[in-house]
Amino acid sequence: MRISPKKSQIIAKTLIWAVAVIVILLLIFIMAYILVKGLPTLSWQFLSEVPRDMGRSGGILSTIVSTLLVTVVAVVVATPLGVGTAFYLTEYTREGRVTRIIRFCAGALAAIPSIVYGLFGFIFFVIYLKLGWSVISGGLTLGVMILPTIIRTSEDAIRAVHPMYRDVSYSLGGTKWQTIVGAVAPSALPGIITGVILGIGRCVAETAAVILTAGSALRMPTSLFSPARTMAVHFYILAREGISMERAYGTAALLIVFILIINVAANILLNKFVAKGR
């Protein structure tokens, strides 16, 4: 029997709508599941006290601080390198072998699994450079990991800048550097910041690469060379070793809230950027 085009259209349309609705419901379900179980645990005490008894009691302050420190190191390292590379690719060279090689490398870096970054960070930063399990080792590893994200979003943002802005700046007597700083960078800035924010999101969410490089010591880090346990690692250990499900949910909920804020911020910026570009 042949199904008429009209009928097959209805079937396909229904199916696709159904799948989309299921995916959305799934997303809502996962978020709600974690938030409903975890939000009640969140309290000022949970946020402001250091963990005690392996995390069974007390709060998670030291893991929040660790997450923050590791992320800051990563962003401080990756932003100049990533944005600089993007400017090199877009402003300082023509398409050719060099750009192809650099883009290939960035693509390859983006494809490397985080556990391999963990291995690399462990053998290079922790062992070879003798930085030990520390905030700095973890941060540098994450910095390398988010480099390709920042390169790609910045490059897209710079390419989206109105091409006439460059001509205008040159015609007003701007040098290349002045043109980049004065006319190109300000227009590309929201896009670049979006890339950095997405990078921050990845740092906050990352576990495998951090656990091998920053360690999992629960003490409050006192310097860049202290070992540290980030929130994601803390959550993993709490859940996997069954130390405290209640606290695991609480930590997970806080992670989700962070990620939500980061995503919303990135989206708002990006929309602003798109609106301005047109």
Partner: protein, 253 residues
């Protein structure tokens, strides 16, 4: 009118890859005149402007031959400072392109590039330039709002003011009114007539009538060659060349 030449173009040839966009063009532009370079699309009019302030250097695959002298000095000689050239010879593009910043910052952009940081000097420059471009009264209360909110005509006058803030010697305008309504066009043409007291102006008009209205002298370009040049009054009433006459009377183009 000063009769010395501000710009001498001698045997200029210009190539985009294999295509020759300008063929052996020679012409002089005098102090304090409005000179119109006109012709149908793709005749090389815009290319001449871009060659004069070396914006064409930015386009890969182009080649220039011949001489362009500014006050007798070859602008293409290696010791001619290119950013200084662009400050002395400003260009206004067809499409008004305010940079995505405030009105004030747009006008102050050029002076800042040249190293002026003093706020008083900058504010003075901005005000003077806006006054000369006949835009001051409309924007004096909103200098720090985004330039992109101005109307099309205001944006183009902003672009002119932005050039004036460089305190240039020559102002080039590439079809400055092509995207504007008749009233804005009239305002810009009026301000050009005032500006020629102080500057040398080269305009590529978007139609012949504009050339006739504003220019003292004009050159007619066709497919990269300069067909005819001379006083506007003479040229539009009594052209020497048949091609010029055909174009002016609308037989082609």
């Amino acid at each position: 009118m000063d009769n010395r030449a501000k710009i001498n173009i001698k045997n200029l040839n210009f190539y985009y890859h294999d295509h020759q966009a300008i063929k052996d063009v020679s012409l002089d532009i005098k102090y304090n005149e409005i000179y119109a370079i006109f012709g149908p699309a793709n005749s090389g009019t815009t290319t001449i402007l871009k060659a004069i302030n070396r914006m064409c250097d930015l386009i890969p695959g182009t080649r220039t031959e011949g001489e362009i002298l500014l006050d007798g000095k070859d602008i293409r000689s290696p010791d001619f400072n290119i950013t200084e050239l662009r400050r002395r010879v400003g260009i206004v593009f067809e499409e008004p392109v305010p940079l995505p910043m405030s009105i004030f910052d747009n006008i102050a952009y050029g002076p800042r590039m040249s190293g002026i940081k003093n706020k008083v000097v900058l504010a003075e420059r901005v005000e003077n330039s806006l006054r000369m471009a006949v835009l001051w009264d409309e924007v004096k209360d909103k200098l720090h709002s985004p330039a992109l909110r101005l109307s099309g005509g205001q944006q183009q006058r902003l672009c002119i003011a932005r050039i004036l803030a460089l305190e240039p010697e020559v102002i080039m305008l590439d079809r400055p009114c092509a995207a504007l309504d008749p009233i804005s066009t009239f305002q810009i043409e009026e301000s050009l007539k005032l500006l020629k007291e102080r500057f040398t102006i080269i305009i590529v008009p978007h139609n012949i009538q504009q050339a006739a209205r504003v220019a003292d002298r004009a050159g007619f370009m066709l497919m990269g060659t300069l067909v005819e040049e001379g006083d506007t009054d003479q040229m539009f009433v009594n052209p020497r060349e048949q091609k010029t006459s055909d174009y002016i009377t609308g037989r082609f183009g």
